[in-house]
């Protein structure tokens, strides 16, 4: 008994030290950077630019994170194939539609219609991939232990990666950005890359419509009911399997939109492009509190901002060279920290209260 107490105490002390060290490092780096002049000096405009690029990147994480969080909310399962839903929409719409629209010149003469068509194709592809995955790989495992669908999801992820590699090849595929979206706009005296404005505006629209859909519509209420108790939801006459499919479809639609926006920002797509954003978005969902839709949005935005502002701020302040290359380190350190110190996330509820 006393042996066990000592052990817990040791781990507790270690975690406290760990937490203190991280906080001290962040504060020290920030102070050193801002007041002691360590590393490059940036003007205010450059800091604002870091912030905006962080918000725009965070918007993409938020859109993808919604799929993780909604599926977790209804099935208590981490769908690690979600990054592939994102990739499938982006790559298919680029190869089958965007390339032709751009080559024919239609993309530059009618950018809005072109992007809408591309997005429609991306959403359709992502939803189809998601529904197939759910129906074939996940539904038969609905009553299996929780580890089983998790492993299956990883398998499904590999399957889709190499499926699309086989279809479209392993080269980087350029995503054509219409002329109208190249360059910058000046809004409120601040310069914004046009694509970033489109990303943020689209994300806000998508988030608000999703929130209203979940809160107000009959289907949205059914999704919430199924998330709470599948048996009782069935007693109400709710078709549980169909509701789960709808949830997957909504998450995939968001991922499809994110795929097109990703193409606009990074100007290329690739069969492997779903992996890192998928893991980052998962981090964002956990950070915000997995299962919570506002949590996914908040987690995504915060992750994007911390990734963008963190390296120039406290990593450079610590005298680390090439700090911007370490943004992935920041993201995954955050995942570890959240899992250790606040597993329920920023606005999530304690996982222990959830029914498995």
């Amino acid at each position: 008994m006393s042996q066990r107490f000592k052990e817990i105490d040791f781990i507790g002390v270690f975690l406290w030290v760990f937490r203190a060290v991280i906080i001290v490092l962040v504060i020290y780096g920030t102070v050193a950077k801002l007041f002691l002049g360590v590393g490059n000096t940036y003007t205010v405009e450059i800091w604002v630019d870091f912030l905006i690029s962080g918000l725009s990147q965070g918007s993409l994480y938020a859109l993808i994170a919604l799929g993780y969080t909604m599926v977790y909310g209804i099935l208590f399962m981490i769908n690690f194939a979600h990054g592939e839903f994102f990739m499938s929409g982006a790559i298919t719409s680029t190869v089958l539609v965007a390339a032709y629209l751009s080559a024919s010149g239609f993309m530059d003469s009618q950018p809005v219609i072109s992007l809408l068509v591309i997005t429609a194709v991306a959403i359709t592809t992502s939803i189809s991939v998601a529904l197939l995955t759910e129906r074939i790989a996940y539904r038969p495992l609905r009553r299996a232990p929780r580890l089983v669908p998790l492993i299956t999801a990883i398998g499904a992820s590999f399957f889709w990666q190499y499926f699309f590699r086989g279809l479209f090849g392993s080269a980087l595929i350029p995503f054509p950005v219409p002329e109208a979206l190249q360059g910058r706009w000046t809004i409120l005296g601040l310069e914004f890359l046009r694509t970033r404005v489109v990303v943020m505006a689209t994300t806000i629209i998508a988030l608000v419509s999703l929130y209203l859909f979940i809160q107000r519509t009959k289907t949205g209420k059914a999704i919430r009911a199924v998330a709470e108790d599948k048996d009782v939801a069935a007693l109400m006459g709710i078709n549980v399997d169909r509701t789960v499919s709808i949830t997957f479809a909504i998450g995939a639609a968001m991922a499809g939109v994110a795929g097109v926006l990703w193409g606009l920002v990074f100007r290329q797509v690739h069969f492997y492009m779903g992996f890192v954003p998928g893991i980052k978005a998962f981090t964002a969902a956990v950070f915000g509190g997995i299962g919570s839709i506002p949590g996914a949005a908040l987690g995504g935005l915060l992750l994007g901002v911390i990734e963008a502002v963190g390296p120039p701020l406290f990593l450079e302040g610590l005298g680390i060279a090439g700090a911007h290359q370490l943004k992935d380190v920041i993201a995954f350190t955050m995942l570890v920290l959240v899992l250790i110190f606040r597993p329920q996330g920023l606005i999530g509820e304690k996982l222990a209260e959830k029914k498995a």
Binding site: A225, D229, V232, A233, L235, G237, N239
Partner: protein, 237 residues
Amino acid sequence: MALLEINNLHAYYGNIHALKGISLTVEEGEIVSLIGGNGAGKTTTLRSISGLIPPKPGAITLGGEDLSQYKAHHLVGKGVAMVPEGRGVFAKLTVLENLEMGAFHRTDKEGIASDLEKIYKLFPRLAERKKQLAGTMSGGEQQMLAMGRAMMSRPNLLLLDEPSMGLAPVLVEAIFDTVTEINKTGTTVLLVEQNAHMALQVAHRGYVLQTGAIVLSDSAKELQRNPMVQKAYLGIE
């Protein structure tokens, strides 16, 4: 023809033989109580009727129709509503949203609105708390909500699983009064209870379930007088 007929129903949980061939009938307009101790198979019986445990073909018929061909979510459309054990309200939905879920399969907006008014009249407490999250209400209020939600589907047959569980005696009385009231408006009730005293007071007929088999069936009055029932379930020596 009886409204609900159960014929030689078996159910298994893994290796456990939970229902060993029970048979019972519920006539239109009746309140029938199924009493028995913990683990007797009462909840299993209700879960089989509502399709949460798939029954064997022919074992359960409703108005002559075999229920085994339907999934759980079809049954509410057949006129069967269930108030599950532990009430099963959706804690994170509001009271109003919970009631709307009860009418999920219905499309008649006016009918739903007028039924909502009826439920609010039956349970004025729910009207006061429309916008409140169901999880923040007391056990008694949640029981009212679960019953109101079931009534929102306009059931012919209402299945009640342990409505008295965890409630103060005065609330238990109120809940059973409501059961009688609901029955008077034409809804048939199959009631499962450990509180045999209350269950037999409101019921017309009763069945006694012991370790997965029906050991007694009679009118509620006769069961109340039965020495075995008195000793085992009513606490009368």
